[in-house]
């Protein structure tokens, strides 16, 4: 079974530029999560999708971050414009069910904003 795929693995941009991350969850997983992991901290949930609908985006800085999950499969997370404090690892995870918390993580994208 293929795991969660993410791209790119690394991205370096200047502040005020825009950037997009892509995630392909495990086939058949209805729930998809985006987490932000700042250096020295644990991951923090940004947004959660159930199929192509948003379950929760209360931690997403909506003035600069946006996310979508078209057709309930792949998802993209965008930052526009980026700030220095957005430097972090962005992790995507998917889950086959929402009754025991089991989530499968992708390799993450390391974003550096200069």
């Amino acid at each position: 079974e293929a795991g969660v795929a993410q791209s790119p693995r690394y991205k370096i941009i200047e502040k005020r530029q825009s950037v997009a991350f892509w995630c392909n969850p495990i086939s058949g997983h209805a729930t998809l999560y985006w987490y932000q992991q700042i250096l020295g901290q644990g991951p923090k949930l940004l947004i959660q999708f159930q199929n192509n609908g948003v379950v929760d985006d209360s931690q997403l800085p909506k003035d600069r971050f946006s996310a979508e999950r078209l057709k309930g499969v792949d998802s993209t997370l965008k930052i526009q414009p980026a700030k220095l404090e957005d430097s972090a690892v962005y992790l995507c995870a998917s889950s086959p069910r929402r009754r025991d918390g089991e989530q499968f993580f992708g390799p993450g994208t390391r974003l550096t904003v200069l």
């Binding site: 999560y33 644990g42 991951p43 959660q48 929760d56 690892v89 929402r98 918390g101």
Partner: protein, 116 residues
């Protein structure tokens, strides 16, 4: 709301020794799960072990076991016969099934170093 606290930023032990990583949590959920994840330098979060809160028996997975003290809200991870490949960040996490958003709540992590 859920909180997870890991009070050991870094630990170092010799290969083959036993090491215990500490974690305390707080949750208002009646039905919840606790997890330990390993994150090596590759950044891939790997599930190490999972505990269902309503089960009194401590979970074990080969060299990994937990000490789950529900009343004390404590969930420690014991690694026996530690190996060089165990070197990584270890995160304790909680998940509750109260409805709505159900992302994992993570602690700040413990950097475990296994010395040869």
């Amino acid at each position: 709301a859920q909180t997870v606290t890991q009070s050991q930023p870094e630990m170092s032990v010799q290969e083959a020794e036993t090491v215990t990583l500490s974690c305390t949590y707080d949750t208002s959920e009646n039905n919840y799960y606790l997890f330990w994840y390993k994150q090596p330098p590759s950044r891939q979060m790997i599930l190490v072990i999972r505990q269902e809160a309503y089960k009194q028996q401590n979970a074990t997975e080969n060299r990994f076991s937990v000490n789950f003290q529900k009343a004390a809200k404590s969930f420690s991870l014991k690694i026996s016969d530690s190996q060089l490949g165990d070197t990584a960040m270890y995160f304790c996490a909680s998940w509750g099934s109260g409805g709505g958003a159900d992302g994992l709540t993570f602690g700040k992590g413990t950097h475990l170093i296994i010395q040869p």
